[in-house]
């Protein structure tokens, strides 16, 4: 597809790394370490670590996660062991293990995983819920639901119902949720996709940002008044992150809760635009130890 001259100027590696510099981060290439997360509803953590070590897999506990390990060395794919196939652990990038852990309390709750496939976080939610309560998991792409279902079966998940549904139509289900995970479709980042700079333009970013706003606006309708939303992307682009959340504060009456997790506070001034001060409660993770990531927790501002 041909780009217009303006689009051409607003794409490419230099364009994006200049934006990152304007946000205070100097671009560097990164080599990501694979990571796993123990499904503690299925096995004791020590047992699976011991079993993997006996197979020659070298693991290191991830300091900022409760159940995550870096895979430092393995002669084979850690997704091809008996332990994996019977659901003792999942392969899950370290930063993406953060969002599900930010809900105050998931036990016995009614939870929506609005953009769920291929299901890494659905399984993690079920694990944190000890396989009780209810998870409603949606994805708009039917093909991706097979991968999601396979994950659920592999990990012995009992508390999930999956629908092939656009999150922008979730109110059709007529369910009110205590917790909503919005791990929204996004533009991704260069750390997990070596062709990222060649393939992405600001147009894609804007298109995703619009879809993300629509998903936010719809899902707030099905959130209980005292419910929580965790919003995350693996995009580094502020349009999909801080700018969207600033819009949600102003247009949807949401407030940003303080969270305590890996990452740095988001800037409250972006490309010259002053954002709501609550934006500093969001966490931005620049690629390094992990991929690039953004996460925040939102609640309805009942004082509005």
């Amino acid at each position: 597809m041909k780009c217009s001259p303006i689009q051409f100027l607003m794409s490419g590696k230099e364009f994006f790394i200049n934006r990152y510099a304007a946000l205070g981060w100097k671009y560097e290439n990164v080599e990501l370490k694979p990571a796993i997360r123990i499904n503690s509803m299925n096995v004791k953590e020590e047992e699976v670590v011991k079993r993997l070590q006996s197979l020659g897999v070298e693991l290191e506990k991830i300091s900022f996660l409760e159940k995550g390990y870096w895979v430092l060395r393995s002669e084979f794919s850690v997704g091809a062991t008996t332990e994996y196939l019977i659901g003792y652990y999942s392969t899950q990038e370290a930063a993406s293990q953060i969002p599900a852990t930010l809900f105050a309390d998931l036990k016995g709750k009614i939870v929506l995983d609005a953009c769920a496939a291929p299901g890494g976080k659905t399984v993690q939610l079920a694990d944190l819920m000890e396989n009780a309560g209810v998870i409603i998991a949606l994805d708009v792409k039917l093909r991706r639901l097979t991968a999601l279902s396979n994950q659920l079966e592999r990990c012995h998940i009992k508390n999930a119902i999956v629908y092939n549904l656009d999150a922008r139509q979730v109110s059709k289900l007529k369910i009110k949720f205590d917790c909503i995970l919005l791990d929204v479709p996004c533009s991704g980042n260069f750390a997990t996709d070596k062709n990222w700079f060649k393939q992405r333009t600001i147009k894609d970013v804007e298109k995703n940002a619009k879809l993300q706003k629509e998903i936010l606006a719809e899902t707030i309708k099905v959130l209980k008044d005292d419910g929580e939303i965790v919003y995350s992307t693996c995009s580094l682009e502020p349009e999909e992150n801080e700018l969207n959340i600033d819009w949600a504060i102003k247009s949807l009456g949401l407030r940003v809760e303080r969270i305590n997790c890996y990452g740095e506070p988001s800037p409250t001034k972006i490309f010259g635009k002053k954002l709501d001060n609550q934006i500093k409660n969001c966490r931005r993770i620049w690629p390094g130890k992990t991929q690039g990531f953004f996460v925040c927790k939102l609640k309805k501002d009942v004082s509005v």
């Binding site: 279902s149 592999r154 119902i161 092939n164």
Partner: protein
């Protein structure tokens, strides 16, 4: 809908009490819900609760979860070594190999 499952389970010499009211079928796939999921499930679901297996050309293909449930009931089991365990997981015939 229960018959095909009951027949399959009975081959292992165990009886598994699956509550008919909590079982749902989607296409050729069978699922077992609990009381809470039952209240929330809509007719257009894609997957729900515990997947039990599917029927293809008249044959029932159990899920791993159903096999776990049967094994927990102390059904006739055999113990295999790690090589055979892997062959089984990969869908090969453990006895032939």
């Amino acid at each position: 809908m229960m018959k095909v499952l009951e027949e399959f389970v009975s081959r292992f010499g165990v009886s598994l009490t699956l509550d008919k009211n909590l079982m749902v079928k989607k296409g050729n796939r069978y699922f077992l819900l609990n009381g809470k999921l039952k209240r929330f499930v809509g007719k257009d679901f894609f997957y729900a609760g515990i997947y039990l297996g599917k029927v293809k050309k008249g044959t029932f293909f159990p899920s791993f979860n159903l096999l776990w449930m049967i094994a927990e009931k102390n059904a006739n089991k055999i113990f295999v070594d790690t090589r055979s365990e892997w062959l089984f997981i990969c869908g090969r015939d453990v006895f032939k190999q």
